[in-house]
């Protein structure tokens, strides 16, 4: 029997290997009898624990107070005046079983979601980190297999024991759900959403793993910790109408919260999250649309969100695996990704129409959309590091430019080609691409202002736009500074660039605060307009604002001039060095 089973398994693996060798390799290495048995054993032990912990809590006819919430009907005893469960004809308490199963179902759901998402991310990144350390990832890169097949094999193969253990839980989960009167369609939708979110998390984790080989053994812990944090935020019922509400979409458990279990013959309902405040997500909106009001809209939106983000991560992941020497994100890709992220984030800033009270209280657009500029600031800083090419790439590009310029004298064609290169060539300096991305963010901000119903929007909108404009100009200067640092001879230029940006974005305002620069009066308030947080804008005079704009323009012009000369000089010297070396 065992031999026959082994033969069937081998034949199955052989077929899988014909379709995806990577998947076969991962399964072959992991699906050993001992591992499989151990996984199933752990899975069943966890299931037994989850069920037994509720069964022992059930009320008995001994006046214990535990588990009274599961009584079909509570009565007061005449002797001790204690509440107890009404007993049935057989002498045992009458239990409201759907409520019991609903609680078991909730706990199994939590185990499914958290173990699948966090455990899966950990395993994938740990495996990738090991492959990179060992040098075997290069074998895969050099093989004629498309990277799509390799990634698919990794996603389906590396966490296979985890999948197996969780799959063994599905019968219990499904049966508990059905016995708790959850509709089958809702359960199937939950599995679908869980799969889509897992795809999104896993692709993001792998991408992060490929981007940060230097972190080595710390990588899996960091990514698992980040995922845990995101799920924790999503699991909390708190909703503040800001970009942070986006995290709610990554918690598939929320979908089950729409269903309230009804006990047999009674009106009482049993919310999924009883004992917690989990109702916040029901007021979730996106561009004034109440997506959280109904399970169907929530499901569709969460599904679309996970799949769109997952698809983005997949595209950049494939790119990274195929060509590790290029920037993590292509310039053209970045424009699409920024548009996508800005729209999602802006949507969560305009969840519902501001109330009249909000407006009478003197709130402005800046207060209403406060989290959009902050989210975009973070997004822009991350983008800088993903978009700006390394010194070697810029050197190669500048040498090529120098060679091209020297060979041709059609200046108009040059400018056109230079512009095209700066907008789309991965090795060209990334300043213009960062500027385009900031432009996209500004466009989405305009859209947000346009769709928000506000009684007298003009002043508030102008202030918000100006505030974002100062912030964007400051960020662009930061990007140019980073690019300039990347062209220096510092080996670990990314760390230096990271430190510089942190100093410019956070350190500079802290210094201003410590020096007592006021936001409200005095000439020092204009210094705040040359930071990433131009909070003094409402208190600034027009002349001061004009001065700040001039300061930004001067800084940008100076940085662009320095950078252009540096790149041109590098191209020239690089070309001379190469031709001299080859000549010699």
């Amino acid at each position: 029997m065992g031999v026959m089973f082994t033969k069937i398994a081998e034949s199955g693996l052989d077929r899988i290997g014909g379709w995806n060798p990577q998947l076969m390799r991962e399964w072959q290495g992991r699906l050993r009898w001992r591992n499989v048995l151990l996984t199933l054993l752990i899975s069943f032990a966890v299931q037994i624990l989850l069920v037994v912990q509720y069964l022992v809590k059930l009320p008995q006819n001994d006046y214990r107070s535990s588990g009274m919430q599961y009584c079909l009907e509570q009565i007061q005893t005449s002797e001790a005046k204690l509440m107890t469960c009404k007993l049935g004809a057989d002498g045992y308490p009458l239990i409201n079983w759907p409520f019991v199963w609903a609680d078991v179902f909730r706990d199994v759901s939590l185990v499914l979601v958290w173990v699948l998402l966090i455990g899966g991310m950990y395993l994938l990144v740990a495996d990738l980190s090991k492959e990179m350390r060992r040098g075997t990832l290069n074998f895969l890169r050099m093989s004629p297999q498309p990277s799509r097949q390799i990634l698919l094999g990794k996603l389906m193969g590396v966490p296979v024991l985890l999948y197996l253990g969780l799959a063994a839980m599905l019968p219990l989960h499904l049966s508990m759900g059905l016995m708790a009167t959850y509709p089958l369609m809702l359960l199937l939708a939950f599995y679908g959403l869980l799969g889509a979110i897992a795809f999104c998390f896993y692709t993001a984790a792998l991408w992060f793993g490929l981007l940060t080989p230097g972190l080595q053994g710390f990588q899996p812990w960091l990514i698992a910790g980040t995922g845990l944090g995101l799920l924790a935020v999503g699991f909390s019922g708190y909703r503040d109408g800001s970009s942070l509400d986006w995290a709610r979409l990554f918690e598939p458990i929320q979908l089950l919260s729409y269903w309230e279990v009804k006990g047999p013959g009674i009106q009482m309902t049993w919310p999924f999250h009883h004992g917690f405040d989990q109702q916040g997500f029901r007021y979730l909106g996106w561009f004034l649309q109440p997506i959280g009001a109904h399970s169907g809209t929530y499901l569709l939106f969460a599904l679309a969100n996970a799949l769109i983000l997952g698809a983005w991560f997949w595209v950049v992941l494939e790119r990274r695996l195929e060509t590790p020497g290029r920037t993590p994100l292509g310039k053209v890709q970045s424009y699409g990704l920024t548009l996508c992220l800005s729209l999602i984030v802006m949507g969560f800033n305009v969840q519902s129409a501001p109330t009249e009270v909000d407006q009478w209280k003197g709130q402005s657009f800046s207060d209403f959309l406060w989290s959009y500029p902050i989210s975009m600031l973070i997004c822009a800083i991350v983008l800088m590091f993903l978009l700006l090419p390394s010194q070697q790439a810029v050197l190669d590009w500048s040498r090529y430019r120098h060679q091209y310029t020297a060979a041709s004298n059609q200046s108009r064609q040059h400018r056109h080609r230079l512009l095209r290169d700066l907008l789309s060539h991965d090795a060209s300096p990334g300043g213009l691409a960062v500027a385009v991305n900031l432009g996209v963010m500004t466009g989405v901000l305009l859209l947000g202002i346009a769709v928000t119903p506000w009684y007298s929007p003009t002043a508030g909108a102008a202030e918000l736009l100006l505030r974002w404009g100062f912030c964007a100009a400051f960020l662009l200067s930061c990007a140019l500074v980073i690019q300039w640092i990347s062209l220096s001879n510092v080996i670990h230029w990314r760390w230096l660039a990271f430190g510089s940006v942190a100093t410019l974005v956070l350190g500079w305002p802290i210094v201003l605060s410590m020096l007592g620069a006021s936001l409200y009066d005095g000439p020092s308030r204009y210094l705040w307009l040359v930071t990433a947080f131009p909070q003094s804008l409402p208190h600034a005079a027009w002349s001061g604002i004009g001065l700040a704009i001039a300061a930004h323009l001067t800084i940008l012009t100076t940085l662009i001039t320095i950078l252009t000369r540096r790149v041109q000089g590098l191209g020239q010297s690089e070309w001379k060095a190469l031709t001299a070396a080859q000549g010699g």
């Binding site: 075997t136 001879n489 080996i491």
Partner: protein, 334 residues
Amino acid sequence: MVSEILQANPMAQNRIATDAAIPTLSVQGLTKRFQRKIAVNDVYIDLFPGEIYGLIGPNGAGKTTLMEMMVGAEMPTLGEIWIDGEPFRQDQNSPMIQRCIGFLPDDYPLYDDLTVWQYLDYFARLYGMASPQRRSRLYEILELVQLTSKRHSRTTELSRGMKQRLGLARTIIHQPSLLVLDEPVSGLDPVARMEFRDIIKTLQKSGMTILISSHVLSDLADFCTTIGIMELGHLVESAPLEELYRRLSRQQIFIATLGDREALAQALAAHPCIKAQAVVSDQEICVEFEGDEAEAGALLRSLIAANLPIRHFNHTREDLETIFLKHLDHKQVS
């Protein structure tokens, strides 16, 4: 085996059918810069089918970088690579070309959780080998690297020499037309090195083109047809082995006679390959010789034909290691 290689590589088949003179590997002006350092500078190499090219040079000379560029693991700053007459762009997915290349890095990493068979089977599948051929190919390769008896063992259970042979088996499983081996014998004992040499010779006979770097120069001298010397990123010397010996190796022939030493000296003086003579003893002369093995043989035959009673004829030449060290010394002095 050659027919199998051609079967696996239709592109190579076309190549050989149309033009036998097209090199398996052609490297044109390959240059690699890391920041300000030039790792490889303007290297040109042409490798023809069946050739074994030995790449030697001190540590940091740029051998590994050059090899990594050839196999697509590293992007060149400048230059072109052609495999079997087709341009090879590292930033583009070119499965046809990738099937023509086999690369064994110096640390030949393995997967510890697989058996020898599973490991090779996995790579055969990665390279798209279909089922019936794959199985027979696996047995054939295991036989070649003498690991048939170990096919069910985990890779962790193998000795270093076996692991290295398994790495080589992985590299040639898909029958590449070009094999690139980076320091394949480092850390191996003499027996393992000898076994490895035999495998390389077998592969050469099958028509595979091999580029190999090693610090064990005696091994390279044993099987390489061409030698390239790299230094500070430059390919400072690249020539067939015999030509290298002729040009750079100091050759001496010790000739002892039973007869008159003066007669022997006169006979030798007329020979064009002899540059100088020195008397060793009453009956023995040492000559500086410039020529190859065939010319040395011709010299011996001419002396016998001249009725000189030759007692001893010993042709010695500086080995590859001495040539390399002399080359380095010369470069450092210059």
